[in-house]
């Protein structure tokens, strides 16, 4: 199986931007139920700027630099809780592969783990707090346990498990983020960040399958 190059990641990021646009109103609606109804909008604002930045990205930007650019752009443009969380996710993921022009599947798993670690370091949430970590954490475990011989299958399982994790947020009482103030009233609603995160990660799969 071939390694992942810069063009692959750029294509993934463009696909993420489309995903953010397509799901904007859905994420916003989910956030309206238990948050402040801006999640989809802010992700859309952020990824619109990501596309602008990618359109002008210097040819000599490597993979780490591309991830940094995306992370910084989200950090600058998204705001709220998800701006710093998604921002450091991408920045830290990229920092794992400094100076590489291609990354292996194992590198990619390391990158995603580093990204998720940084979400946890910044946001201090635990599994079961009804946040995007409820998608990422079980998903990553599956990804890391998967057979490295078939990255496509492994990433597909990863995203499927993330989606399952997002479904599993529905019955939870929120313990972090804006929804935490709702207490029991957050039960019965999906966490918006858990939804956006599996849908964004799904872009790795879709771009591979293309």
């Amino acid at each position: 199986m071939a390694d992942f190059d810069r063009d692959y990641f750029i294509a993934v990021f463009r696909r993420m931007a489309e995903t953010a646009e397509t799901n904007r109103d859905e994420w916003t609606r989910l956030d309206g139920d238990i948050g402040d109804g801006d999640h989809g909008i802010n992700m859309s604002i952020g990824f619109r700027e990501v596309v602008k930045q990618l359109d002008a990205i210097p040819d000599d930007t490597d993979i780490a630099g591309t991830f940094k650019l995306v992370g910084m752009t989200l950090l600058r443009k998204v705001g709220g809780a998800s701006g710093p969380l998604y921002g450091s996710f991408f920045m830290k993921a990229g920092a794992e592969v400094a100076d590489q022009t291609e990354v292996s599947f194992d590198d990619l798993r390391r990158m995603l783990r580093a990204g998720v670690d940084s979400i946890q370091a910044r946001g201090k949430a635990q599994l079961g707090d009804k946040t995007m970590l409820d998608s990422y954490l079980p998903g990553l475990d599956v990804l890391e346990a998967a057979d490295a011989a078939d990255p496509g299958a492994a990433l597909t399982e990863f995203v499927a498990r993330m989606k399952q994790g997002s479904d599993d947020t529905i019955p939870l009482v929120a313990k972090k983020g804006r929804a935490m103030r709702l207490g029991e009233r957050s039960v019965g609603h999906r966490d918006p960040g858990s939804q956006s995160s599996w849908q964004l990660m799904n872009c790795f799969v879709e771009e591979l399958a293309r």
Partner: protein, 329 residues
């Protein structure tokens, strides 16, 4: 409900552009266009006061940048904390060599972003302290966990009054903390606000319903119930706030009625009247009254009551002279 906007994605930038064009004698945009800063900082260096949060709460935060009030405001997307770079750039713009105080409502997104901004400023050797505003009684049991709503303005006034004396950062921070410790709010919403980007409300609410304990971002409150007459709503709010702050006969307070944007002043004064009468009946003295749209949620129909337990020091701070486009006294 309807808005009068161009592309909703441009709303924040266009508003900021309009604001500094209208009030160019008082404020300008810093290099970072999400930072509104005084055209000229004080001639006597003072602690830089930085007030911020999401947009959509106008006149909060930008309307309170001015002479003797905030030195800079950092503005996020609608209902969304500003980003860390903007928070950092606000420090650069507002610092006068005596350090800066971040004042903002206690929301996790804001804490994440402002803290990153403060870290960057610390790397530059600028001291930044933070006071999280936590006045919204209904949002959490522990005072320190509560979110910030219209009490933002009260805490700002206290901090600025002390900063204007030339006091150091610790003293200014202590004043803000004292004001915050004594500030209690609670509100109701009768409608959702309308988001510029989607043109849609954040949530649905029945024609006869109200949401009790609604925040100023449209986060659901704690209870949805049938809309009641203004006096009954005020009584319900006071029944929760007064015991929570343990207000006693003989004490003195400031009362703020904060309109969320879509509620007419007529209704706000009718609400004020009830609060005034109930407090007076209880033997509480009202030393200062503020009624109006201090911290809105765009077009949301709703209001909140803010009570501030006063002593002579706090009273002095709240009666200090201020001169910003939306706070003159």
């Amino acid at each position: 409900m309807k808005r009068l906007l161009n592309d909703g994605y441009d709303a924040v930038e266009e508003m900021l552009d309009g604001y500094v064009k209208a009030h160019g004698d008082v404020v300008k945009l810093a290099e970072n266009e999400r930072v509104v800063v005084r055209t000229e900082l004080s001639t006597e260096p003072k602690v830089g006061i930085i007030f911020g949060g999401g947009s959509g709460h106008e006149p909060l935060f930008l309307g309170y940048v001015g002479e003797g009030v905030a030195d800079a405001a950092v503005i996020g997307n609608v209902n969304t904390s500003p980003d860390p770079m903007a928070c950092y750039d606000a420090v650069t713009a507002a610092d006068q060599g005596k350090g800066c105080l971040f004042l903002y409502g206690n929301y996790q997104g804001d804490v994440l972003n402002f803290d990153m901004g403060a870290e960057m400023a610390a790397d530059d050797g600028i001291r930044v302290e933070t006071v999280l505003i936590t006045d919204d009684v209904y949002s959490a049991k522990d005072k320190a966990d509560r979110r910030g709503v219209a009490g933002d303005v009260i805490v700002l006034m206290a901090a600025c009054a002390v900063a204007n004396t030339g006091a150091d950062l610790d003293a200014v921070k202590a004043a803000a903390e004292k004001a915050n410790d004594n500030t209690y709010s609670m509100g109701v919403a009768l409608s959702s606000s309308t988001l510029p980007v989607t043109g849609e409300p954040i949530f649905e609410i029945g024609p006869d319903d109200m949401e009790v304990g609604m925040g100023i971002h449209g986060e659901p409150g704690i209870e949805r119930k049938k809309l009641e007459p203004a006096d009954a709503v005020m009584d319900e709010i006071l029944d929760i706030v007064l015991p929570d702050m343990d207000l006693k006969s003989g004490e003195e307070v400031a009362v703020m009625i904060n309109g969320l944007g879509g509620l007419p002043l007529m209704d706000q004064y009718i609400c004020y009247r009830r609060v005034h009468d109930v407090l007076t009946d209880k033997g509480v003295t009202i030393a200062k009254s503020m009624v109006g749209n201090y911290a809105t949620s765009m077009d949301m129909i709703g209001m909140g009551v803010t009570l501030v337990r006063l002593d002579d020091e706090l009273k002095g701070w709240l009666n200090a002279p201020f001169n910003a486009p939306y706070l003159v006294q």
